[in-house]
Each structure stands twice: as structure tokens, then as C-alpha cells.
Amino acid sequence: MGERKVLDIPLNRAEGDLEIRVEVEGGVVTDAWSAGTMYRGFENLLVGRGALDGLVVTPRICGICTTTHLTAAVLALDDAACVRVPDDAVRLRNVALATEHVQSDVRQAVLMYMADFAGAAHAGHSLHDEAVRRYAPLKGGVATDTIRETKRVLEIVAIIGGQWPHSSFMVPGGVTHRPEATEILRCRHILHRYREWYERRVLGCSIGRWREIRTAGDLDAWVEENGAQRNGEIGFFMRFCREACLDSIGRGCGRFLSFGGLDLPAATRTKGRRGKLVAAGLAHGGKVHAFDQAKIAEHIASSWFEGYEGGRHPFEGLTRPYASGDEAGRYSWAKAPRYDGHPAETGPLAELLVARDPLFTDLVTERGPSAMVRQLARMARPAILFDAMDQWLDELMRSEGDGFHTSPGAIRDGRGMGLTQAARGALGHWVTIAGGRIQRYQIITPTAWNASPRDSAGVRGPWEEALIGTPVRDPANPVEIGHVIRSFDPCLVCCVHSVKGGRSLGRAVLQV
């Protein structure tokens, strides 16, 4: 029997590469540390390789945000080559990237976030039995439905890019091929089916009705408006969160960053802001400030890297691993990105606040940011993307073709940056090319922003800050901490357990 137990190990691959340590006093979190426990090193792996190699290597940084990394890599090369990308190529890139978003948002919500609602920690919740029927791992009706539907929508990426994940169909100046009209038609069919399922299952109403909600009060009324909305996934999520008090934890650092994403074609009926569907900017203190990438810097004071003091812009950044244990307070392999000298959280909530979305602006203004609002933003984001995706596919169908690729010639020496929005938030690639080869490559992922350790001034990262004040009812199973961290959608496999002993009594350690 013991042998059977061991066999699970190679089949069950938990990526334990992030550890959250919290100090708890009087049942409340008083301090927190976020430690990335795995060295990534893709930046160094790319140095010395051919200028185009980032297109193949970087999509493999992540098996989920693979199209986003490809997007950032190709945007950096477009920038370096100063090449114009034809409209149809922009549309194809956008549809593939947005497809990755709309599948990830629903999968994360149902399979990762709300799966906790079916756990023993919420056994006393009045909606627990229904949560078990919906979200219990492997069995919940909504969980299995979500797997089927999200599997189908990813066929769009496979049609456009040849495969998912890890496609390399985007190249400087465009894409490698233009799908036939029948293939575009197939994409539209898949998208329409997925949208219909999203409206019926997740919203419980049409997207048009959802977009009419403009205030927190509207949202409260919408949930109770009818059975379909009350029992849709968002309606159920809202009702569960309120009773579980998830609307009062996970406030965060109060600064919300979006790099902007999904470039608009030169000729399109889709509306955006400053040439992008997803607006760029920093929301802070009730205002939205223009985005300036020159204000980005990475600190390494708390990270196991060496080479500089203070912060450095990614074009000047260094990635020199320096394993030194706890020396000088270093505790993470993640660097600490900062915008204008301050931590900033990123993700769907940041996108919506930067875009001045009336509902989420009102929710944050009137009730403050929280784990519930952050997660709600993620569940609602597909409602914004579907119309644009459908529009771009329609324009592709009608296009007389301005080509799908503009040759940039040989990639000349210089540097370029590719900034976009991944499913989990702001993603940037910065590349310097010399002698036809990559001289420097720096990547800042969304989770690096959210999970960053303390910076040179000792200021906590966004989710370190979001954990402060979180109540922990049961140190043996600090599920509240999981709710806060997962509201940021950490790109890691999560498994929660606690250890305590000796002087650490009262200190919960959550391994994510």
C-alpha cells in the first residue's frame, strides 16, 4: 500500500515556487513576506542568442500566458525594427491574445478561486452545499462545464496560430500566415458559442444588460433582479463573498497599473483609448495618471540578485543570481518592480480602473478595493473583450487584404520594448540587440508586480500589503490568506498548509 502512495508524486506536479509567510497576532495578519523560491533565469538564457529567438523561447516562460509572452516579444522586435504591422495582422494577434484572456479568466474563477468555497473551511456557510455542487474539484457541475467550454474556445488560438500553447505565429511585421475565410468563420462560430455560454452561465444575463450596471448600488440590485442573475456564477460569487466577508479583506497598496494592450488596427470600428483597446495608466487616489514606461524600475534589495543599489529601468537592468540565504534580508528570487518609486498592483481591476469603468470605479471609491472586487473584475473582463473580438473577426472576414506581414528585413541593432496586458496584468519585455544577437533581455511579469518583495526603501509589495489586517480564524487552515492571494491570480499552483512550532507559534506559513 505504501508503494501506491508514492506513485502520486510524479503524476501530481505542484509548482511550489512561491511561499507566503505571515505573522499573526490576535487572529489578524500583522506582517507578510512574499518569497519566490525558484530562479527563473530566462533573461540570461536569451543573452547571445539570435535576435528573433525570444519569439520561440519566451512563450515557454508560462504554459498559460504563452500568447501574451509571444505578444510582448514580437512588440519589442516591432519596436526595434520600426516596422508597421498590417491591420489584419494586428487583428489576428489581438483575437488570439484575447482568447487566452477569456478562457483564463473563467478557468481561474471557477477552478482556482471558487473551488475554495467548496472546502471544509466554509462548511458553516449557508451556501456551502451549493458551492460543493458547483465547484467541488473533479465533480462540481460548473467546474466540469468550465473545462469543456474553455477547451473549445482555445481552438481559436490553434486556428490562428497553428497550436496552443507555445505558438510562435507572431513575427516582426505581422504574422506567419492569414487563415482562410472558412477558418475565420470557424473562429466566429467558436467565439459565439463561448459567449453564449458565458452570458448564460457566468452572467445570467446579456452582456448588454451587464454593461448597464454603473454603480455599486446597481450591482446590488442586479444580483437580486431575477433568478438567472442571482444564480449565475457572478451572482452566486457576490452572495457567497458577502457572507464570508471577502469584501472587507485584501485592500492592497491602492495603486493600480496597466501597461495597456490590444493595439487597435488603423481602420476599425472598435473604440479604444490612445490606440489601444485596454487603456494604459496608473489609477491612484481616485485619479488616473498617464502611463510613462520610463518610471518603471526594478529593485533587488530583498532579492537574491546582485549588481546594483536602488532601482534600475529594465533597459539597464541586471539579472545576476546571488544565492545568499537570508543575508541582508534577501528572501525572494523575484525582483521588486516599482512604478514612479512605488509598488503597484496589476490585473483586470487595474485595467478597469484605468479605463474609468463606472461600476468598478464606484465600487472602489465607495467600498474600497478588496479580494471580492479584484476577483469580480476578473470574472467580468470577458464581457468587455467579446465585442472587440467579434468585431475584429468580422473585419477579417470583410477585409480585402492589406497583407498579413511587412518584412522588416534583418533586425537591426538597437533596442525595443514590448508592453502589453496579460491575463494577470502588465507584462513587459525589453530587448537590446547588438551584432544581430540579443545583448540584454529583461522581462517583468504581472506576478512580479503583485508578488514583489520589499524594495530598497523596505516598502512591501502589493499582496504583502494586501494581507495586512486579514483575519485568520484557523491557523491550521488560513483560507482567508488564500482568498486574498488568489484574488491576484498568482501564476502558480497553489497548495495551502500551515506549520507552527517553537518561536513560530502563531505564525502561519502559506505555501502557494
Binding site: 508503494e3 508514492v6 506513485l7 510524479p10 501530481n12 504554459g63 477552478l111 469543456r148 497553489c494
Partner: protein, 151 residues
């Protein structure tokens, strides 16, 4: 029988690189027209479409604690399909999660699924043996197939 061989594992971690090493060995071999070879890497849930076209599935992966190092064993995965192993879902979903949820999400019938397990650490001879075994499973006697998973 049309067969899809899916090699699982992480080439960067020695304890988990048996699947990728078998993949590299098979990639250089002349495969029968009825055999399709897939580098499954660390994929879990996203392998689902590969289970849906009626092919027999042969998973190749590292195992531990079952036999002497280097032993190659064929497991019948039927007992783990629909089970509770891997109930924790990550972004990618693990292979165990996929096998657990398979009956509820698959389009069409569940195919025959076998696992060629390489007891770690697996040397070069084990890699060769596993690669040969993958291509000759039809010729193996039934007693080579065991059920390691609890019902």
C-alpha cells in the same frame, strides 16, 4: 491500433526527466505510421483534446518507489481515471487532475490509456527499454500490465 505516445516530465529536473529523454529517443527513431509522438512536458488539462480522437494513449513518465531504479513497468491507468488523485487544480492542471476529471469532460469515449513508468533514477538502458516498449506494447503479455492505483 492507432497510438499516441505522450511523454511527460521536466527536462530540467533530473528526477523528472525520464519522459523527455524517451521523447528525444523516439523523435530520432523511425515511427510506424500509426504512431504519433507528443512532447507533453508539464501539460495537464491542455492535453485533453489529445484524448478525444479515439487513439490509444501511451503516457511515458517517471515513477518512484515501486521497484528498483531503472525498472520500466507498464501501468493500466483505468483505475485512476475518474479518481480523486490530483484534485488540486493549478493554472495548467496536472496530469492527475486531467485523468481524474476525464469522464466528466471528455467528448466521446474514454480511450485505452497505459502508462510506461520509469523508476527513477533511470539510466540510458532504461530509456532505451522504455522507448522500445512504447513501440511494441501490442506484443507484450497481459501480465506486464499492472494496476498501481487504488480504486
Amino acid at each position: 491500433m492507432r497510438t499516441r505516445i505522450i511523454c511527460i516530465g521536466n527536462a530540467l529536473i533530473p528526477e523528472d526527466d525520464a519522459g523527455p529523454r524517451v521523447f528525444e529517443r523516439l523523435r530520432r527513431a523511425r515511427l510506424p505510421a500509426t504512431v504519433e509522438l507528443v512532447d507533453g512536458g508539464l501539460a495537464g488539462l491542455r492535453l485533453l483534446p489529445l484524448f478525444e480522437d479515439g487513439r490509444r494513449i501511451v503516457l511515458v513518465d517517471a515513477v518512484s518507489g515501486l521497484a528498483e531504479a531503472g525498472t520500466v513497468t507498464v501501468f493500466d491507468c483505468a483505475s485512476v481515471v475518474g479518481g480523486s488523485a490530483g484534485a488540486n487544480y493549478g493554472h495548467a492542471g496536472g496530469l492527475a487532475y486531467l485523468l481524474g476529471v476525464l469522464p466528466a469532460v471528455i467528448d466521446g469515449p474514454i480511450p485505452q490509456i497505459l502508462l510506461v513508468g520509469l523508476e527513477t533514477p533511470a539510466g540510458g538502458e532504461a530509456i532505451e527499454a522504455a522507448a522500445d516498449l512504447c513501440l511494441n506494447l501490442d506484443e507484450r503479455e497481459p501480465h506486464h500490465v499492472v494496476q498501481p492505483f487504488p480504486h
